[in-house]
């Protein structure tokens, strides 16, 4: 059982959780994620570790409600608990001193990019942030990004905050202007990452993306998260989730992510019709006798 200590909405449908998970908090590094299972009948979903406090033994997750499991998670409050949580999974970001790093976050991708952006800043890079969202309300972590970015641009679809447009517009301008860019980190919807990759390909700017493939175990056992790259098949959960954007076959990724679309839609519809019984299921599972002894056993 993994108790939720804090839970607050950052934007509509986007919630920040502080969760007690001492082992994960001790080990996590920027770019890594956990897999959670909310209740006895729940599915396993991957979520990036946005932050961690080894002293307090906590990690921070930022969740965007897009389907049944994430929307259900966003109903949880401080005092609730998560049944299963495992990590830190995946390879940490390759944080080095590159020079100027442009960090592009689209939607909840900003939350996934933020820990790496911060680590890049701490490593002595000049960090330029480009944060995109549909509208003002959905702009994530603006103060946090502002605190670590040497320059920050906000882009919204409707122009309600920052400039109107999409995240690749400011990137395009910088490239055209000949600004120095040593590394681009782009995290967001598949099509956004693909567009960034195409934009930086001609000039050969090193570009990293974090891939959101479907996952089950997160340890390299199922192969469900496999992505097709120039160097062959890779498993996003262990070889990634970050990859060289110019090596990734995004069309295949986008197609694979649609594998369960009908089931996902059905699950969401059933959840919408009766969210309370799903919530009751979480609260029931997390009150059962712990089948998974709490973590303090580790320090015996």
């Amino acid at each position: 059982m993994f108790p939720i200590l804090e839970a607050e909405f950052l934007a509509p449908e986007i919630k920040r959780f502080v969760i007690e998970a001492p082992r994960v908090a001790r080990k996590r590094r920027a770019g890594q994620f956990v897999i959670v299972r909310l209740h006895e009948r729940g599915e396993r979903i991957p979520l990036t570790i946005a932050d961690g406090d080894p002293e307090r033994g906590t990690i921070t997750l930022i969740v965007q409600g897009v389907g049944k499991t994430t929307k259900l998670m966003n109903l949880l409050e401080a005092g609730d608990a998560i049944l299963d949580l495992v990590g830190p999974l995946g390879s940490p970001s390759d944080v080095r001193r590159y020079g100027t790093v442009v960090v592009i976050g689209g939607g909840v991708g900003t939350a996934i990019a933020w820990p790496t952006a911060r680590a890049m800043k701490q490593a002595g890079n000049r960090v330029v942030g480009i944060v995109g969202a549909r509208s003002r309300q959905l702009v994530l972590l603006e103060p946090e990004m502002r605190a670590i970015c040497d320059e920050l641009e906000i882009v919204t679809d409707d122009g309600s905050s920052g400039r109107q447009g999409v995240v690749i517009d400011p990137l395009c301008e910088r490239i055209m202007r000949g600004d120095r860019i040593d590394l681009v980190l782009a995290i967001g919807p598949v099509r956004m990452m693909q567009a960034v990759a195409e934009m930086t390909r001609p000039s050969g700017i090193r570009t990293i993306v974090s891939l959101n493939s479907l996952m089950v175990d997160g340890t390299g056992m199922c192969g469900g998260c496999r992505v097709s790259t120039r160097d062959g098949t890779r498993f996003a959960c262990v070889d990634g989730p970050e990859f060289d954007a110019h090596a990734v076959d995004f069309d295949t990724l986008a197609r694979r992510n649609r594998t369960y679309r009908d089931s996902e839609a059905a699950a969401l519809e059933a959840f919408r019709a009766d969210p309370n019984s799903a919530l009751a299921q979480v609260r029931h599972s997390c009150r059962l006798e712990p089948t998974h002894p709490p973590e303090e056993a580790a320090s015996r």
């Binding site: 599915e43 495992v86 990590g87 340890t219 056992m221 192969g223 262990v238």
Partner: protein
């Protein structure tokens, strides 16, 4: 001393007692166990067939040397709990091995009766007494030695890890089992389907171990959540057993393998067995919807057989197994092949996929195969398949499952630099003591041998436990130069 009233001649006249089975027409659409278990009458009749050989050949076929003749004699005497105890002297998971051992190549394959008649149903009898013991619950927990003050970490909760845990905890050591998944049992819970091995049986074994004092910690990936060095240097474990199995799926590497609709057997079986996707939407994890659609599974081992029979149970219209040799070469247990055929599984043998084909929407639509013929025997002694040029043909399917075997998952090895591996990535360990190149670290099961069997993993786990016990007592670590 024999309780068997029949003279040997008459014993051979009794036909082998058939295992009561769920009717094929019904079971092909449910996940209940296929074999229902021998009745008391069936079991005692079957036991009477045993010739009680002075030098039982059957025992030489069992990898752990279960005292088969003796436990059978106890069945004949009506002492089922005694029979169970007799098996447990050598085999701590009899309800599981009785169900899943490849008996035809092991104990039963060596039974003298099999030379002229049908071999004794040793697996069925082993299962019978183990089930009897569980259902009658009269055997208490074994005696536990006083605490030794030593701590052992076991990584992985498959048969190797579980059986090592059982021995070590009895000897008074503090045992913690770390498991990456949220459930304990390894392949027994995520791989082998409930229609062959009901999950309650595995849970029963795990609960018994927990009552004996084994501390199970799910959701810990060693190599990520914590490393072996941290376990030993910071958390005070005196010894570590790596029993992480061979869980890395192999793919064909042919065009179209990334299409939605193509998955590994590990993924497909994990979704159904561990995550209960067959009960979607009551459970949240989805699985590819194969209701009324055609499914192909590629491979010929137990995993392939489990996957194709699972697809059938999920409602597939046509469940097809594609294998590049012939039925005679299939590595799956013969009972599984027979059951599969009864359930209407089609075997497409001497065929090898060369590409997965897609529909307009980018979903899987079919498999293109080449016909094969058998050529010269290869290194494994089996005749190797040779493609027939120009023999390509297509099979329309909506889902395909690749069950080509598994390899070593590198997570633990790569996070433990001084742990030597063999060229294929498996952990190098002394075959007897299961010591690795790293002091205090042992390894057992599929992570040493490559994908093998439950009984071999169990045997290795117990050998490792014995070696760990000795190491904890003497503190001596003979640096086996041979290792590596």
């Amino acid at each position: 001393m024999s309780a068997n009233p029949l003279p040997p001649k008459q014993r051979t006249k009794i036909p082998r007692q058939e295992m009561p089975e769920q009717q094929a027409a019904a079971r092909r659409r449910n996940f209940d166990e296929v074999n229902r278990g021998l009745t008391v009458l069936g079991a005692s009749t079957e036991a009477m067939r045993c010739l009680e050989c002075a030098k039982p050949a059957c025992v030489s076929g069992c990898p752990v040397g279960v005292k088969i003749r003796d436990f059978i004699a106890l069945i004949t005497a009506g002492d089922y709990l005694g029979a169970a105890a007799k098996i447990r002297e050598d085999n701590v998971l009899p309800a599981i091995t009785g169900r899943v051992c490849p008996q035809e190549t092991q104990c039963e394959g060596c039974c003298i009766l099999g030379k002229t008649f049908e071999p004794l149903g040793i697996g069925h009898l082993e299962r019978f007494v183990a089930d009897y013991e569980r259902e009658h619950g009269e055997l208490g927990l074994p005696e536990i030695a006083p605490p030794s003050g030593r701590k052992v970490a076991i990584i992985g909760s498959g048969p190797a890890g579980l059986s090592a845990a059982g021995d070590l905890v009895r000897w008074g050591h503090a045992v913690t089992v770390f498991e990456a998944l949220h459930e304990i049992g390894g392949v027994l819970v995520y791989g082998i389907p409930a229609f062959r091995l009901p999950k309650a049986i595995v849970r029963h074994e795990v609960e018994a171990l927990a009552r004996m004092g084994v501390d199970f910690q799910a959701n810990v990936v060693v190599g990520k959540t914590v490393t072996i060095d941290e376990l030993m240097d910071e958390e005070g474990y005196d010894a570590v057993l790596v029993a992480t199995g061979a869980g890395l799926p192999k793919f064909l590497g042919i065009p179209g393998e990334h299409l939605p609709g193509v998955s590994s057997a590990n993924e497909f079986l994990t979704r159904v067995n561990l995550m209960h996707a067959n009960e979607f939407p009551s459970y949240d994890e989805p699985v590819f919807d194969c209701r009324g659609r055609d499914v192909a599974v590629i491979g010929g081992g137990n995993t392939a057989m489990d996957a194709v029979r699972t697809a059938c149970r999920l409602g597939a219209r046509r469940s097809l197994l594609i294998y590049r040799r012939t039925e005679a070469e299939m590595p799956a247990r013969v009972e599984e092949i027979r059951h599969a055929k009864q359930e209407g599984i089609e075997l497409l043998t001497l065929a090898n996929p060369v590409a997965f084909l897609s529909d307009d929407e980018g979903f899987l639509a079919g498999v293109r195969c080449l016909r094969m013929e058998l050529g010269q025997p290869d290194a494994s002694g089996r005749r190797s398949p040779v493609p027939i040029p120009g023999s390509e043909f297509e099979v329309p399917v909506a889902m395909a499952v690749v069950a080509l075997g598994t390899g070593a998952n590198p997570l633990v090895q790569s996070s433990t630099p001084d742990l030597a591996t063999d060229p294929r990535g498996y952990i190098a360990a002394d075959p007897e003591t299961l010591r690795t190149s790293k002091r205090g670290v042992f390894a057992a099961g599929d992570i040493v041998t490559g994908a093998a069997t439950v009984i071999l993993a169990m045997a290795a786990g117990r050998r490792a436990a014995a070696a760990i016990g000795e190491f904890l007592e003497s503190g001596a670590w003979i640096d086996a130069e041979a290792v590596g």
